[in-house]
Amino acid sequence: MTVRVRTLDELLTPPAAGSSALSTQEYFVNMGPQHPIAHGSLRLVLRLDGETVKEVIPVPGFVHRGIEKMCEKLNPRQIIHLTDRLDYLSAVMNNWGVAKAVEKAANIETNGRIETIRTLMSELQRIQSHMLWWGVLGMDLGAYTAFLYAFRDREIISELFEETIGARLTMNYVRPGGVMFDILPDFQEKVKKLLKYLGPIIDEYDTLLSGNVILQERLRNVGVLDGKKAVALGCTGPVLRASGVPLDLRKLTPYGRYGDVEFNVAVGSKGDCWDRYYTRMEEIRQSMRIIEQLIDSIPEGPVNVLRASARISIPEGTYYDQIETARGVLGVMLVSDGKSPSPYRVHFRSPNFNNLWAVTALAPGWRIADIITIQSSLDLVIPDIDR
């Protein structure tokens, strides 16, 4: 038996300086837990030689809330409330992930209206999430204008959410068996207006930032992750697709209305920061295509097939279901003992937790400034890592 439990302190003992006059001494620098580019509390310990990064040791856990433990005492409807605190930029998709797992486990059939509204809201949120990422990437690299542009346009989608859902960030919209509220009568009109506005805006983003020579220099050929390595490191979402692996659950196992619409999976070829950048830009356009096809074909029907007071009982067993959020595959494992209304165990396969570790493979050999680029291109949301 060779179990050896280590501590962080053991790893952080700096090696002694070499004996030669020219050899340099390696040292450690903490990036975070409070660092502007972490967008949350994530500590990265960098082992440096001069300005060259030798090793990155991620230390997560600063916003660990024990959501999986809390879920063991809550019923399926209450669990939904915790899921939009995971990856708050994919709140609707997280709600849907859990609702879908519960519906599969408890054999609840939904209708076309519910699935269409869920799909529309998810795609709107994907656009909103990628826009935030685009602005923040610009800001991380010193282009503050991008941040202002992205927030200006993101605001329109936030207002749409506020009108329909009543919240701008942590939305409790999708429930097991339906959605919380019906869309407003002018929702379709407003979305069409939004699409009309967004088309040229995304092109403007390209002229503003994508073609910029400084941005190109800082993204191209930096942090190359080939497809095989990305799969081995458990990456999903745009990070994996940028490496040339076309894994998109919306295509592979269509749920909601994704089977009825035409869209392409954006795929990169090389897996550098630029591919991750452009994959997301293309995904915004594809999401707009999906919305365009669905906005006029929302079927009639009730928006919840269950009464608000209906008891949802999950039969005994282990259930696993997954969904494609803006950052990758969110898996939900529900274990029920069949006795209590709350599940025996809930586990979230979080996309950011698995994507984070790519940074340990990508960073060595690059400078500190490139770590900023690499981390920004992975688009991590810290509360989803810690859960």
């Binding site: 179990v3 997560p60 486990a105 698995n354």
Partner: protein, 154 residues
């Protein structure tokens, strides 16, 4: 390969594997002895080629005195998934590491170690992940007690 053919092929490879009831995905239950070799076959056999470890976690079956390790496998080649469940003893648990097969397992196993206290044999970097190194107890165990925990009204 559809779910039924997949499960048949797996029982052909490992006769000890049993189909797991009450689930919505193809799932098998295997004994812990020979787990690493079995998972290696699942990864390397071209019929299965499960090259992607989507998820690894554990379940605490306290009443039965067992922990269950759960692996969610996915094949980017065939597009099929498989859930593998393994029961181990709750007293003095020990599990084989699969981080040599799928590098992501290194961190997923660290999470399980941190929250369940299941040590992994030959793990390259077994450390607490979210909690501090001097934390006592393992929070996702069913019998975990903390002086700050509130008792829920029954």
């Amino acid at each position: 390969m559809d779910a039924q053919a997949l499960l048949q092929a797996i029982t052909g490879v490992n006769p000890a594997a049993q189909e797991r009831p009450n689930t919505n995905v193809p799932a098998v239950q295997v004994p812990v002895a020979g787990l690493h070799a079995f998972l290696q076959v699942l990864r390397d056999d071209p019929r299965f080629s499960f090259d992607f470890l989507l998820d690894h976690t554990a379940i605490d079956w306290m009443a039965d005195g067992k922990f269950e390790l759960v692996y969610q496998l996915f094949s980017t080649l065939h597009g099929h998934t498989l859930m593998v469940g393994v029961l181990i003893e709750r007293e003095q648990p020990l599990a084989p590491t699969v981080s040599d097969l799928w590098p992501i397992a290194e961190w997923q196993e660290r999470e399980v170690y941190d929250l369940f206290g299941i040590p992994y044999d030959d793990h390259p970097d077994l450390r607490r992940l979210f909690l501090e190194d001097d934390w006592t107890g393992y929070p996702l165990r069913k019998d975990y007690q903390d002086k700050n925990m509130l008792q829920r009204p029954q």
